[in-house]
């Protein structure tokens, strides 16, 4: 499973980080940065919660 971030949609709301602190960190301006592209085994639920948390649909799952 892969977590993909569309930078053109990320508005820096920062809501994605809380449900998935192992997958996403926020930079100094509040924009999301993926810590890992490939979701590690066992973190699938975290990844799903992360993708769903973004009010601007900037995050999506693949595979």
């Amino acid at each position: 499973m892969k977590l993909l971030l569309d930078s053109t949609r990320c508005q820096g709301y920062g809501l994605c980080q809380e449900p998935a602190p192992d997958l996403v960190e926020l930079d100094e301006w509040g924009y999301a940065r993926l810590i890992t592209l490939v979701v590690p085994p066992g973190a699938e639920d975290e990844a799903r919660a992360c993708a769903e948390s973004c009010p601007n649909s900037a995050l999506r799952l693949e595979g």
């Binding site: 993909l4 569309d6 930078s7 053109t8 949609r9 990320c10 508005q11 820096g12 930079d27 301006w29 924009y31 940065r33």
Partner: protein, 444 residues
């Protein structure tokens, strides 16, 4: 603004993109006389030659042309081919020169790429009005074997990015989209699309005309050289030539380094000028050939000024789609401006280092990567200058007026005289027929 001078090589080797008369727009007859539009090399054979020669794309990324052609062909359906002549790098003039001077070479390459991929529809994408006029004249003079449309765009840094190209041809703004999908998967009208730089297409056409010279054709490149003290130069050189020899040939011996690959390769110091102009060697050294634009740092100029100019250009050209790019390019631009202007705070080097490492790969296109690369390469190549600029204002930078910097990196396109236009009835306008279109008849 300085004018780019095109130097004509003394002897005219066959198989060059510059050709025999770089300052004159080539007619269809002249192109045919040089072996162009010939039917001796079929699409399958051509693809094999391109795979064997290892020809790489000349838009910047340097991806192998044969691999790209094959991936579009293998998607099936009704592929689309696009000649991309929109060069956004301010220090590059070769693509616009090529469309102005040798439109038939590019259109021949486009038709051959269509034959290889099975495309039934082609586009020439550009922003330069003189290039557009030249291509339209060429299309009327020698109608291609498939419908080819000219699509114009505004000249911006990101308009030539392959997803911008697709979006613009589909009627949208010339702005990058998030990847995947890439155009070869889903491009113009959803079809698998080959977006190919015009110099790449020119080299494909040359390979078809002179397969015996395929290796020379694949291992030569157009370069736009600038930076002073002499006016910029567009020329063609073989891979492997040391950067220092290129600086000498251009007229900037004793260059203090270079800004490489347009803005993408970042800054290199004087020692790095021993590197050969060769894509892999440059990548291995942490820089890049990119589109072949090299801005040699003239002795007496400060590399920090050049870094600030480059960052200012990128910040101004951010397409402002990605929040991180707007904030990131502005931050890098402001910090480098401060360094040049003598107003940078003590944490500037740390911030630049953080952005150099943290901004790469974060935007939807490569512009933000270029900004990160400028910051990182200045720290890597000229750490002593970063330190000295933090300690005291730099008189050289002050003399260069850091505020109006971005235009110092811009070169002008060489002027090309019009060719005599033979009297022929204009062909009917290519109809934007929806898919599917009749199969290709092959290159006449």
């Amino acid at each position: 603004m300085t004018t780019t001078t095109v130097r004509l090589p003394p002897a005219q080797p066959p198989g060059t993109v510059l050709g025999t008369a770089p300052a004159i727009a080539e007619s269809a007859d002249a192109y045919r006389a040089s072996g162009g539009y010939g039917a001796t090399t079929g699409p399958g054979e051509l693809l094999a030659h391109l795979a064997a020669s290892g020809l790489r794309g000349r838009g910047g990324a340097g991806f192998p042309a044969a691999v790209k052609l094959r991936s579009v062909r293998d998607r099936g359906g009704h592929p689309v081919v696009v000649a991309n002549g929109e060069e956004g790098e301010p220090g590059s003039a070769k693509d616009r020169w090529l469309l102005r001077a040798r439109p038939h070479l590019v259109l021949d390459g486009l038709a051959r790429a269509a034959a290889v991929t099975g495309a039934a529809r082609g586009f020439v994408y550009l922003s330069d009005p003189a290039a557009g006029e030249s291509v339209r004249r060429a299309l009327a003079e020698h109608p291609p074997p498939l419908p080819v449309e000219v699509v114009e765009t505004d000249h911006t840094y990101v308009a030539g990015e392959e997803t911008s190209v697709v979006r613009r041809i589909d009627g949208g703004p010339a702005l990058p989209t998030a990847k995947p999908p890439r155009p070869f998967e889903q491009g113009v009208g959803g079809a698998p699309t080959l977006v190919s730089n015009v110099e790449t297409l020119a080299r494909i056409a040359l390979t078809a005309a002179r397969p015996d010279l395929r290796d020379t054709i694949a291992r030569s490149t157009l370069v736009t050289l600038s930076g002073g003290p002499v006016s910029p130069l567009l020329t063609e050189v073989p891979y492997g030539i040391p950067l220092r020899a290129l600086a000498d040939r251009y007229g900037n011996p004793g260059a203090a380094g270079a800004l490489m690959g347009g803005l993408f390769g970042g800054l290199v110091d004087a020692d790095a000028l021993d590197l050969p102009l060769e894509p892999d060697a440059l990548i291995a050294a942490g820089t890049a050939l990119g589109c072949g634009a090299i801005h040699f740092l003239a002795p007496g100029r400060c590399p920090v000024t050049t870094a600030a100019d480059a960052a200012a250009h990128l910040a101004a050209e951010s397409a402002r789609q990605c929040g991180v790019c707007v904030s990131g390019t502005a931050a890098v631009g402001k910090a480098l401006y401060g360094l040049a202007a003598g107003t940078a705070g003590p944490d500037t080097a740390d911030s630049l280092d953080r952005w150099a490492r943290g901004l790469r790969g974060r935007g939807a296109c490569g512009l933000l990567d270029a900004a990160a690369g400028i910051a990182g390469s200045l720290l890597r190549s000229f750490p002593h200058l970063v330190r000295s600029h933090l300690a005291a204002p730099c008189p050289v930078c002050a003399g260069a007026a850091p505020a109006d910097g971005r235009h110092r990196l811009t070169v002008a396109v060489p002027v090309v005289a019009g060719a005599p236009v033979p009297a022929r009835p204009p062909r009917p306008a290519p109809s934007p027929t929806p898919f599917p279109l009749p199969a290709l008849k092959g290159t006449p």
